[in-house]
């Protein structure tokens, strides 16, 4: 499949290209004007995506008609809310090929990753069933230099709490994971490997299934940060080969305030809770409490039903488009972006320069113009991008840059917008006298 192909073949049948115009009509915010009356060119979906009417309507309809506290009360609204919440769990499970009992709703992907990290230190005081989650001095937690802080700092903290040692895969100058010392890094002391499914900076897609195979051969658990993959391509947990997958709704057309942790059932059953309180208990006495089975064990407090409904609507929307079609569209935009931006003299794109095993995050530096200043000029043209280290400071350091400007593409972006980005970069160079 070539990146710029107009159609992709799926199971032999040609797939029609994504109808961007029809898609854009579903996103009210794309119709607004921004600074200077410019139409909005939103290239910051890697930070958060925009929401289609269908998602907004689903959430509004929930609040307008059904709203109550799920899993509490026996009145009609409570019943409807519980059905809506649990129905959303089924929908999300279907979206990633999982069993509904393996889907835990959290407040974010960040919280989902923390849930696993804290469950592991809580294992120290849990029963014998939690044995395999215990870590301590001599054990190793393996991460990568490519991680978003959300899949790095929780593991650093876990090591601090338990005395385990943090180790990491480095990155190549091209921004790929350096797997040359994998045999040494993944060893019998390795208790857990945490790796991103797609870099939020370079778009690089590490070979997660291979890493999982190596890790499992040594008995280590595998946690995958899917915040940048699940919104952009078809992810099937069976094929992924991992034990846990974290992602967030707001990056996949859903509402903010809800994330997902998928975990293998047998692991979730043995795993101690992280946040405790109402909803997650079996019996509470003054002397102590017992907990419900998963997923409830990990969902203390009144659940975010409206957000779950919105997320389910986002899954419907994405499946309606088709993840293969969406991915092909993004791949074409990325190829175009790589070509147009990397061709500008004085601009360096971080990460792989082809779309092979690479998603739609385009981070770059402009000689003589700081990323903040590039972003400011683009903003003046109505182009929204991210500037800074994008919560991946060690990766920036490894690639020898302090900060970057990042454009990220999604289903509603167009080739004209990619051209506008390249033009904007040239204007920034001109304004700051760098071209």
């Amino acid at each position: 499949m070539t990146a710029a192909s107009e159609t992709v073949r799926l199971g032999g049948a040609p797939l029609s290209p994504l109808d961007t115009e029809a898609v854009r009509a579903d996103f009210p915010i794309l119709g607004r004007a921004v600074r200077g009356g410019h139409p909005l060119i939103y290239l910051d979906s890697g930070a958060t995506s925009q929401k289609p009417r269908q998602v907004l309507d689903a959430e509004r309809d929930f609040y307008t008609v059904h709203n109550a506290a799920a899993h509490r009360g026996n009145h009609l609204l409570a019943e409807e809310t519980t059905d809506a919440y649990e129905g959303s769990r089924v929908r999300v499970a279907e979206f990633i090929g999982a069993d509904p009992g393996e889907i835990i709703f959290t407040k974010s992907a960040t919280e989902a990753l923390n849930l696993v990290a804290y469950a592991m230190s809580n294992a120290a005081t849990a029963g014998p069933e939690a044995e395999r989650f215990r870590v301590g001095p001599g054990d190793e937690i393996l991460v990568t230099e490519m991680e978003h802080h959300a899949n790095l700092v929780p593991w650093q903290q876990l090591c601090l709490r338990t005395g385990a040692t943090l180790r990491w895969f480095g990155v190549t100058p091209e921004g790929r994971l350096d797997l040359s010392n994998a045999d040494e890094l993944i060893n019998d002391r390795t208790k857990l490997v945490a790796v991103t499914h797609q870099s939020n900076v370079t778009g690089a897609v590490p070979p997660v299934a291979d890493i999982a195979r190596l890790a499992h051969a040594r008995g280590a658990l595998v946690v995958v940060d899917g915040a940048q993959s699940v919104p952009h391509r078809s992810v099937d947990v069976a094929a992924l080969g991992a034990d846990f997958l974290a992602f967030s709704a707001h990056k996949m057309l859903g509402p903010s305030g809800i994330g997902v942790l998928w975990g293998r059932r047998e692991l979730l059953e043995a795993m101690p809770p992280y946040v405790t309180g109402g909803s997650m208990i079996e019996v509470v006495r003054m002397e102590g409490s017992t907990f419900l089975p998963p997923p409830e064990r990990f969902e203390a407090g009144v659940p975010p039903a409206a957000q779950a409904v919105g997320l389910a609507a986002a899954c419907d929307y994405l499946d309606g488009i088709g993840m293969a079609r969406l991915h092909a569209h993004e791949e074409a935009l990325t190829a175009h972006g790589l070509e147009a931006v990397a061709a500008i003299p004085g601009v360096r794109v971080l990460g792989p320069l082809t779309t092979e095993n690479r998603g739609g995050a385009l981070s770059f530096v402009v000689d003589g113009v700081h990323p903040h200043d590039v972003g400011q000029v683009l903003d003046e043209l109505g182009i929204a991008v991210r500037t800074g280290h994008h919560c991946a400071w060690p990766l920036h350091r490894a690639l020898g840059v302090q900060a970057t400007t990042r454009a990220t593409f999604y289903l509603y972006n167009t080739h004209d917008e990619v051209d506008a980005l390249a033009d904007g970069i040239r204007q920034a160079q001109k304004f700051f006298g760098a071209a």
């Binding site: 003046e380 400071w393 700051f432």
Partner: protein, 158 residues
């Protein structure tokens, strides 16, 4: 484009030709400040001297990585505080902070702020205020440390 109101010529001049850049000896205190959202950083030194019993800013030297706003703002800062008594310089710093927090509604006092009035436009861009304040906050911190060093009792009075 509104860019010219943000990036006034004075700012671009200071960015291209920063004043007093580089770390110098002697100094009484050195601090390292970081803007955690973008990773911009400044290492800044303050040297004080005594003038008729009052502390005066003798030198401000710095090494910094950052955007045009943070670089220019640190350069302007040195112009505005070096040679002033610490008390006068702190007044300028307070005025600059007030300007940054005005959301563009402030009436900057050019008599107090000098070239720093050029940053008026920055106040309209909340995401950039931290850039403009990076060097100023570092200077305040370094000066407070230098004063505490000179007079260990001063800390208790502040």
């Amino acid at each position: 484009m509104q860019l010219e109101s943000l990036y006034q010529e004075i700012i671009l001049d200071h960015y291209r030709h920063p004043h007093r850049k580089g770390l110098r000896e002697p100094f009484d205190a050195e601090v390292h400040h970081v803007n955690p959202t973008c990773g911009d950083e400044v290492t800044l030194r303050v040297a004080l001297k005594d003038a008729a019993g009052e502390p005066v800013v003798a030198d401000v030297s710095y090494d910094a990585l950052g955007c045009s706003i943070s670089q220019a703002s640190t350069s302007v800062l040195t112009d505005m505080v070096v040679g002033k008594t610490v008390a006068e310089a702190m007044d300028v710093s307070a005025e600059f902070l007030a300007l940054m927090q005005s959301r563009g509604e402030g009436e900057p006092d050019e008599d107090v702020l000098g070239d720093a009035v050029a940053f008026e436009g920055v106040a309209k861009y909340p995401a950039r205020i931290k850039c403009a304040l990076l060097g100023w906050m570092a200077w305040k911190d370094a000066t407070a440390r230098a004063l505490a060093e000179a007079d260990p009792g001063a800390k208790d009075n502040s």
